[in-house]
């Protein structure tokens, strides 16, 4: 039987004290222990980006992250993107551009885009495409998604 580790995670600014088996991934913990199901599981292997979270502002894959190592770091999930009940501009743009289809990729895409816009407020279409390099969307063909994100920074 596995040993359990006790840890404290800072998720969307709130502290969570947990005791988990060390091999449980951050994705397991978010979805199953904390019931924050907005972070999706598409592959469990680093190939789809549906499980993207931000750690200290950088997109990372929660399916490949062991929470034991993330104590003290700032973890942001899709549940922490809105502020004061307002959609983040990138969320609004995706809705307005009709970029959302099944939506399973959207949590990851919103976070990847948010991280991009935080360091590059006015990205080109190409910069947006590169920033989405980890995120598969099987429905949209990407065009509207990329255009929606670029529109936030004022580029067409």
């Amino acid at each position: 039987m596995s040993d359990k580790v006790s840890l404290s995670l800072t998720i969307n600014g709130a502290q969570h004290a947990l005791t988990v088996a060390p091999e449980r991934t951050l994705l397991d913990v978010l979805r199953e222990e904390l019931r924050m199901t907005g972070t999706r599981r598409g592959c469990d292997a680093g190939d789809c980006g549906a499980c993207t979270v931000l750690v200290d502002g950088l997109p990372m894959l929660s399916c490949l992250s062991l929470p034991a190592r993330l104590g003290g770091r700032d973890i942001r999930t899709i549940e922490g993107v809105e502020s004061g009940g307002e959609l983040h501009p990138v969320q609004r743009a995706l809705v307005q551009h009709g970029a959302v289809q099944c939506g399973f990729c959207m949590s990851g895409i919103v976070l990847a885009a948010k991280a991009l816009l935080a360091r590059n407020p006015s990205p080109t279409l190409d910069e947006v495409r590169h920033a989405l390099g980890s995120n598969v969307c099987r429905c949209s063909g990407y065009a509207r998604v990329v255009e929606a994100i670029a529109s936030v920074g004022g580029r067409p």
Binding site: S2, D3, V5, A21, P22, E23, T25, D44, A45, G46, D47, G49, T52, V55, L58, P59, M60, L61, C63, L64, S65, L66, A68, R69, A112, H130, A131, G133, S134
Partner: protein, 282 residues
Amino acid sequence: MRYAEPETVEEGLALLSTHDDARCLAGGASLVSRMNAGQVAPAMLVSLHRIDELATTTESAEGLWLGAMSIHRAVATEARLRGAMEVVRSAASQLAHPAIRNMATLGGSLCLADPKTELPAALVAASARVEVAGPAGRRSLPVEQLLVGAFQTSLGKGELLTRVFLPRGLGGAVGHHLRFSRVSADYPTVSVSLVLAMDGETCSHARVVLGSCGPVPLHVDAADAVLVGSRLEARDVAEAGRLLVQASAPLDDVRGSAEYRRMLIPRLLGRALSQARELAHV
């Protein structure tokens, strides 16, 4: 499964020696992926992320020491990696996809020793050395001597990789990495890492290393020798390519048959050389 977070290399070594089946955890990208798939279940995980020494970069007159826990993103944005050392920066900035580059590490890449990956080849091209700490103290060895087979290193039981040394290399040399993959977010089918110096139109130094063309990065002295002193004309590239193909034992998988990879070797070599040459001239 047990889990520990040592704060020094020595503590780490002590923990590794407590379990037969103890494993270092670096970025976790590959290890956790394999754990999720049920392919490995180490009895003990020793996470290296609290060991400051492993995350430190130091500069000396001869070159740069990069800590084993440097993530790819940090390597990719390390401005001091110029000239010949640029080959490593170039590889780190292109490989995999952004989220992996934010997680996976230099040391993890080396110790995984996956023939599909790119940093091992880039490090061989950069003539890198690695420092290994073990129960018997520390030793340093050329990176080629660390990588002994597909998914196999020469690390002994209870040893861990602490840092990587990149020599500055020849003045005027440029480093360049070219990856070719089915789609952008894929392991390369073939990658070419090289360090090149030109004297006018003549090649004065070349070190070419290929990824995915054998169990370990493929480096053939004779191929470099063909290029050095030549004007890198088509037949020189073809001859160097021929020698590399001859020495290769390419992977044969969904990313490409071994034969396709053999076809790609001289072709991508030509492209990588001309790209590097342009860099050398700016």
